[in-house]
């Protein structure tokens, strides 16, 4: 009876968004009476950072400080259309819609500013801090607030923009079965190290090492936050969580937090993460987004590590002690796979 260490890896090619009849998101951007801007969006922020990232995209595009942008994701009844926050599509789809809306609003803003400054809109630039300047004429400028209020009170102009990002339906080719479900892909590789107790069947994740390629990290700290939390969720899917442990018989399922098992703060493993940024050509400022990919590679990496440790191939989730023990019994005991002296 002993504990066996094993190491497993997994890598993934992850589609951003989905394609069930096309994948559109819309956004509207408009200036408020205060000269600040609101983004109306129906894509909901579940804590993954949708509001922050779309706020950054809007501020960057308009050339105003981030504090001057509000993101309103309040209501899918009254907001513009969005497919929703799922399929790892938020940064890419909603972000692109916000980018388009902010670009249109920026165009109107510069027209309003140009009228006040009596110059051509094409000669204007923004400084990122809320001032619009005439290129090459340092003294000639107007604040975004002044331009927005001139549009409102003098020019009768709505400083606003509409944006939609649509990935059209890609039909399945009847001959080849080919289709193109996504326009860009993120990537990840994960190595999991586990310890398997061949007496109890308990699997402990000892450490995780990963590399994620997710386009430009529009907010690096929030990307890291997603990757750390998502990997925990991956471990949880791999080893703990299930609504129906004896599927297809749901009777013994966990009904509440007492019975539905999740790892706690004492069960987490050190996780070293490398983020690689390869901006997506069709992403907003190159962003693809981490999304569900945070949790996905953990599961096969853990299953492979268990195989490495004791030689059993686990192919149903979660990999509970009971399943490990049954598999070990069927195999006639633990059979570590790795070569001696590693």
């Amino acid at each position: 009876m002993s504990r066996h260490r094993g190491r497993g890896m997994a890598s993934i090619n992850y589609p951003i968004g989905m394609n069930l009849g096309g994948d559109p998101s819309q956004a509207l951007v408009h200036s408020n009476p205060s000269g600040k801007f609101t983004v109306a969006l129906s894509s909901i922020d579940l804590g993954q950072g949708m509001k922050q990232v779309t706020r950054q995209i809007c501020a960057e595009t308009l050339g105003i400080p981030i504090e001057d942008v509000f993101v309103d994701t309040a209501d899918s009844d009254t907001g513009p259309h969005c497919m929703g926050s799922f399929a790892s599509r938020g940064t890419h789809r909603a972000g692109n819609a916000v980018l388009a809306a902010a670009r249109e609003a920026r165009g109107v803003l510069l027209e309003a500013a140009a009228e006040e400054l009596e110059v051509d809109p094409g000669d204007l630039e923004t400084d990122g801090r809320g001032t619009i300047r005439v290129r090459g004429a340092p003294g000639k400028s107007i604040t975004v607030k002044e331009a927005a209020q001139a549009g409102q009170f003098k020019q009768g102009r709505t400083i606003a923009g509409r944006g939609i990002f649509l990935v059209p339906l890609s039909p399945v080719d009847p001959e080849t079965g080919e289709m193109s479900p996504a326009t860009c892909y993120a990537h990840a590789a994960m190595v999991a190290e586990v310890e398997v107790d061949d007496e109890t069947g308990v699997v402990t994740v000892v450490r995780l090492d990963s590399a994620y390629e997710l386009g430009r990290a529009l907010n690096p700290r929030m990307v890291e936050q997603q990757l750390v939390g998502g990997a925990w969720m991956g471990v949880s899917h791999a080893l703990y969580e299930t609504p129906e442990p004896y599927y297809p018989d749901p009777k013994a399922g966990g009904r509440d937090f007492v019975e539905y098992l999740m790892p706690g703060p004492g069960d987490i493993a050190p996780h070293d993460i490398a983020v690689l940024e390869r901006p997506a050509p069709d992403g907003p400022y190159g962003g693809k987004g981490p999304g569900e990919m945070c949790a996905n590679p953990v599961i096969p990496a853990v299953a492979n590590a268990i195989f490495d440790a004791v030689g059993v191939r686990m192919d149903t989730l979660p990999i509970t002690p009971e399943k490990v023990l049954r598999a070990l019994k069927a195999q006639g005991g633990a059979r570590p796979q790795h070569r001696a002296g590693r």
Partner: protein, 157 residues
């Protein structure tokens, strides 16, 4: 039959009428209107409703309201002083220790109860203090780091 219960909530006297058997979470959220303690499970299994009663962390959903007569009760609503965030609140922000935020009030109150009696906890003591609090989003590591950082900075508060 409604019974009056009086206690001190974040240093202010409060009085609410409760039904016999009402728990402290209902009294706080529906009676007083302090919605910082969250209703996660209502059965003592998630920690989202954690408050501090007489210096001890308590799960408000399984604490009888009437048992708090005359007690000192602390919730997240009492942590910030004017514009100044409590060191735990600042540390949670700096360490990105909240995503959806649903567990955050309970986590912070569990952590405050720990730091109040043990200002320099070890990592193991922090883990133990929040072991009854479930977080779906963060993977716990940022929360543990935030609590340790708050402990290191707390002397300035």
């Amino acid at each position: 039959m409604k019974t009056p219960v009086q206690f001190r909530l974040n240093d202010q006297p409060v009085a609410v009428f409760v039904d016999g058997g009402d728990n402290l979470l209902t009294a706080l959220r529906d009676g007083v209107g302090d919605v910082t303690p969250k209703f996660g499970c209502g059965q003592g299994a998630c920690g989202a409703c954690t408050v501090i009663v007489e210096g001890e962390p308590r799960l408000a959903c399984i604490t009888l309201a009437e048992a708090c007569e005359g007690a000192r009760v602390e919730t997240l609503a009492g942590l910030r002083r004017g514009p100044d965030l409590h060191p735990l609140q600042s540390a949670f922000m700096e360490h990105f220790a909240a995503q959806c935020g649903f567990c955050t009030p309970g986590m912070i109150m569990a952590a405050k109860a720990l730091l109040d009696r043990n200002p320099r906890p070890s990592r193991e003591e922090v883990v133990e203090a929040i072991a009854g609090n479930i977080c779906r989003c963060t993977g716990y590591e940022p929360i543990i780091e935030a609590i340790l950082a708050a402990a290191a900075s707390a002397r300035r508060y």
